[in-house]
């Protein structure tokens, strides 16, 4: 008993004896603790990703109103906190609303309160009187859909080619890697634009085409990284043993090599999602992406281009959504890479 007390005392003494900076985290000031947590765990990115997922999956429930419905009387309507600009905005006709009974600072806000439930046009309306917030929420859905499918196919194709190239080596390897090189040298945006035109003439582009286009750029980094992994794993003793024991190539690849590449695939995929979302937004911005009337972030930014002076919110909010999501994904990917596979640091 006495001994135990003694030990406790010494540990306490040791703790308090250290520098202030090395004291236990729980004793720090709140700001310092928060900073420590934020540095250690990607909390903010995870939060953004959760918001993205919720918005995407539950878009019909989460979004305040219909993203496609147009209210032409409310074209370029400012966000809730914004002031009406009589020069540019189509002001709702005061006669249509019961201004006496509705409270509000201006005719404008009163008219809005009267005409709509409170949650409509929180982030304003676009050039066709569609709710910007709802379009941002539904944009998350289409973004997730497109990148989800494109990334999945990219992972499958890229991993398969990487496995084959790394395992068989020789001419197969040479041809596949040069294919990747040639592929990377193609001016993808222009090609995507032409492909989109192609479908435009044949009765309209579809989401499937966009998924295909994004999948075309998704696969390349997987080939390179998986191949690099396979090259190291291939010479491991246990793979040798499996081959000596008479396992077929297919079995060795599937049972002994593929599992070793999982962490790499995970890291590359996380780092790739952001880029793919950005690519999709770029295509949509250039008019080669998601077809009307489906709301997409890049398209919304383009919608607002002509109205940047009178209605900045049309472009700024969807663009900010892209920015935030891509940033969160990149941040998370970096963190994951440092955790799982610091060797991949060369990747960026």
């Amino acid at each position: 008993m006495a001994e135990q007390v003694e030990i406790q005392k010494t540990t306490i003494a040791a703790e308090t004896g250290r520098d202030a900076g090395e004291r236990a985290i729980s004793q720090r000031a709140f700001g310092s603790q928060a900073w420590y947590l934020l540095r250690r765990w990607p909390l903010l990115p995870i939060f953004v990703m959760i918001v993205l997922l919720v918005a995407g999956v539950f878009a019909p429930i989460v979004s305040p109103s219909d993203p496609i419905e147009q209210s032409l009387g409310f074209r370029n309507f400012p966000p809730t906190w914004g002031r009406a600009n009589p020069e540019f905005n189509v002001t709702p006709d005061a006669a249509d609303f019961d201004l006496e009974t509705t409270k509000g600072r201006s005719d404008f806000s009163r008219a809005k309160k009267n005409a709509f439930p409170r949650q409509k046009f929180v982030l304003g309306a676009d050039n066709l009187g569609r709710d910007v917030l709802s379009r941002v929420v539904w944009g998350a859905r289409i973004s997730l859909q497109v990148t989800g499918w494109a990334l999945t196919s990219g992972i499958i194709i890229g991993t398969l080619l990487g496995l084959v190239a790394g395992y068989f080596g020789g001419w197969t390897d040479e041809i596949l890697m040069r294919l990747v090189d040639v592929w990377l040298a193609l001016p993808f945006i222009l090609i995507a634009l032409v492909i989109a035109q192609l479908f435009l003439h044949q009765g309209g582009a579809s989401v499937g085409v966009v998924i295909l286009l994004i999948a075309l750029v998704a696969w390349t980094p997987f080939v390179r990284q998986v191949r690099a992994d396979v090259l190291t794993i291939r010479s491991q003793d246990y793979v040798m043993a499996a081959r000596v024991a008479g396992a077929s190539s297919l079995r060795v690849l599937r049972r002994h090599i593929l599992p070793g590449t999982f962490s790499t695939i995970l890291v590359v995929a996380t780092l790739r999602v952001g880029q793919l979302i950005l690519t999709e937004a770029t295509l949509s911005f250039l008019g080669a992406g998601i077809p009307d009337p489906i709301p997409a972030w890049g398209k919304s930014v383009n919608d607002g281009r002509g109205f940047i002076e009178e209605a900045w919110w049309i472009s700024v909010f969807p663009g900010f959504a892209i920015f935030l999501v891509v940033m969160a994904l990149n941040f998370f990917g970096d963190w994951l890479r440092d955790r799982l596979d610091p060797r991949l640091r060369q990747l960026d």
Partner: protein
């Protein structure tokens, strides 16, 4: 080395062929280019149509058309634009300087900010400098350039009215028009350079010869700039090709947003009009530019770092 050069050169040619062939086939599949005339308001007679088809070789099979195009292009004749019948080569080369102007400015800006910041961030690892630098790099990497351009226009052209919102100035030194597009295009490039320099610098700073230099008492500045920086610079220098693809694709977007009269802008118009000779030429130039830069950096790599030997 020689074998390497020959092989690389061969694959460069393949890249150019594949890119132009893809675009050629696709743009033909996208519709009859002569529809442009029908839509132009001038109309076209049946006789004129036949003559034009023959002249543009539109009545031949697509592979033959491609071969014809390739043959003429190699002789320096890229055909005429469909609508106003100007020589494509001249139209494209007229636009080329504007794109290079913008690209070079953005490249310089991102290089000159990204590399010092990368060094700073690596040397002061774990401090507020490092976090700020990395934060800005993440920002630059994630921001969609077309959106950044719009926001800059909104702030600096519409709100504060410091810089013009669009178009290119007259001379080379008309900086006012250049500022916003350059910043927009440089944002991503800066992030790229900062990250790559930081990684390279961290690696070098932990190497044994830097430790030795420190141990024998060499001053901090000399260690950083003479011993470490010189070696860390290899990475960003050879990473230029990646950055170049970035600037090329970026220029398409930035030129669209800022109505910059360059090749990217022209390419978008060409796609929308299905003006395939122009599109073909743009793709040709883009791919050549990219492929030759890759080739040059590969060589550069070997010259800068004598340890690298290509078999």
């Amino acid at each position: 080395m020689r074998r390497f050069i020959i092989r690389r050169f061969f694959f460069s040619l393949v890249s150019i062929l594949v890119a132009t062939a893809i675009v050629f086939v696709l743009s033909r599949a996208a519709g009859d280019p002569l529809l442009l005339y029908a839509n132009s308001g001038y109309g076209i007679t049946e006789e004129g149509e036949r003559a034009l088809r023959k002249r543009l070789a539109l009545d031949r099979p697509i592979p033959v058309q491609y071969a014809l195009w390739l043959g003429r292009t190699l002789k320096g004749d890229m055909g005429e634009t469909i609508l106003d019948r100007k020589p494509v080569f001249r139209v494209v080369t007229q636009r080329l300087p504007a794109t290079i102007h913008l690209g070079a400015a953005a490249f310089l800006l991102s290089f000159m900010i990204g590399i010092p910041l990368g060094v700073l961030s690596a040397v002061k690892r774990g401090t507020i400098w490092d976090y700020t630098g990395r934060f800005f790099a993440l920002l630059g990497q994630a921001v969609p350039s077309f959106w950044l351009g719009l926001v800059l226009i909104l702030l600096f052209a519409v709100h504060w009215q410091i810089f013009p919102a669009a178009l290119k100035g007259d001379g080379f030194w008309d900086v006012k028009h250049l500022v916003l597009p350059t910043i927009t295009l440089a944002a991503g490039g800066f992030a790229f350079y900062m990250r790559i320099t930081r990684t390279a610098m961290l690696e070098v700073l932990e190497s044994e010869y830097v430790r030795l230099a420190r141990a024998k008492g060499v001053g901090n500045n000399i260690v950083i700039w003479k011993h470490a920086f010189k070696n860390a610079l290899i990475q960003p220098l050879t990473g230029m090709t990646l950055a170049l693809t970035f600037f090329l694709t970026g220029s398409v977007l930035v030129e669209t947003v800022f109505a910059w009269p360059g090749m990217g802008n022209m390419a978008i118009t060409a796609v929308n009009n299905n003006d395939f000779p122009v599109l073909q030429a743009v793709v040709f130039f883009f791919t050549i530019l990219f492929v030759s830069m890759t080739f040059i950096t590969d060589l550069l790599y070997a010259f800068i770092d004598p340890r690298i030997r290509y078999d």
